[in-house]
């Protein structure tokens, strides 16, 4: 597996398609234990990111990630803005200068992204957030490489673990015990993001 700037752009485009398609669903996840804007936030952010990428000319994935980061940071408006924004920013820094990322380099980028999310959100696993998808998925990728079908399965499994958790971070934390029984919205968008990656890498 290798990833170049064009594929990085395709990744974001695929992710955008998913966020547009699942806008209502993501919002419906954010409604019972949040403020019901996650679908709107993600679809707005990624739409703007794609628009930005269309206008650009990229020679490294790092440059792609940087523009995605800046767009998400300024356009999303909710918690997922600084979180996904930080993720892409860290990925950009960690992969700077490389025209093509091999598995090791890309995993390094994803690890940096994960660290960025955890730092920004002061969160760890088990808190019913996107970290509960990022952490196991990145660990799995590191151990197993980019086998795209399995990546999808892992990401989905991770997303579903958030259902029974009690939130201790983000708006859902206000609902305490009552937050259990709902899949976390940000974990779900993170799943879509990895699903989009699997599709791009799998050549779909």
């Amino acid at each position: 597996m290798e990833i170049n700037a064009m594929q990085a752009v395709q990744w974001i485009e695929k992710a955008n398609e998913k966020f547009q398609e699942n806008r209502e669903y993501l919002t419906s996840l954010d409604r019972p234990i949040g403020d019901g804007d996650h679908g709107l936030n993600m679809s707005r952010g990624f739409k703007e990111a794609v628009k930005k990428l269309k206008a650009g000319n990229y020679s490294t994935p790092s440059d792609v990630f940087k523009d995605v980061a800046m767009t998400l940071i300024s356009k999303v408006g909710g918690a997922s803005g600084p979180l996904f924004g930080t993720a892409f920013l860290k990925m950009s820094v960690a992969t700077a200068g490389q025209q093509v990322l091999n598995e090791t380099a890309f995993v390094k980028g994803l690890e940096a992204a994960l660290d960025g999310i955890k730092q920004r959100g002061k969160a760890t696993t088990g808190e019913k957030t996107m970290v509960d998808v990022w952490q196991p998925v990145v660990a799995w990728l590191k151990d197993n490489g980019f086998a795209t079908a399995s990546l999808l399965v892992e990401a989905e499994k991770a997303m579903n673990t958030t259902k029974d958790m009690t939130a201790t971070k983000g708006r859902a934390a206000y609902f305490k015990e009552k937050s259990a029984g709902h899949i976390d919205a940000g974990a779900t968008s993170s799943y879509y993001l990895f699903a989009a990656l699997a599709e791009v890498l799998g050549g779909k």
């Binding site: 403020d35 300024s74 408006g77 909710g78 803005g81 930080t86 959100g121 708006r171």
Partner: protein, 123 residues
């Protein structure tokens, strides 16, 4: 005379404006900037608005930032990092009651540490 500045970051531009009008009755000179709502003025926060507010509020004596809910905090922290400015500090204190105290203290010419300390002591 220069003062410590105060920035009000709220998901709702009405809250930010309201706190500003409440404070302005009492404190006229202290720089008081608001960053309320998203770029589209919906409920949420905007890093760009926060950055602009920090820059406007900074007279060289530092800036104290108040926020309402958790996600505003993350945006505020990013804005501070990106500003590269020293003496810009996010404080954990109630946005209405805390900013009122901060503005009064800043208006007395206190420095950033003292203003922050007084706010902390009040809650």
């Amino acid at each position: 005379m220069t003062y410590v500045g105060v920035v009000l970051i709220s998901h709702s531009s009405k809250i930010a404006e309201g706190v500003k009008e409440l404070i302005r009755q009492v404190v006229k000179d202290v720089p008081l900037e608001i960053a309320g709502g998203t770029e589209e003025n919906e409920i949420g926060t905007s890093i760009n608005k926060i950055q602009a507010a920090i820059n406007k509020a900074d007279q060289g004596k530092g800036v104290l930032l108040f926020y309402d809910l958790g996600s505003a905090k993350m945006n505020a922290e990013m804005a501070i990092e990106m500003s590269g400015l020293e003496n810009v500090r996010l404080i954990e204190a109630p946005i209405v009651e805390g900013a009122y105290v901060a503005a009064v203290e800043a208006g007395m010419g206190k420095d950033l540490d003292d203003v922050a300390k007084r706010v902390k002591e009040s809650f």
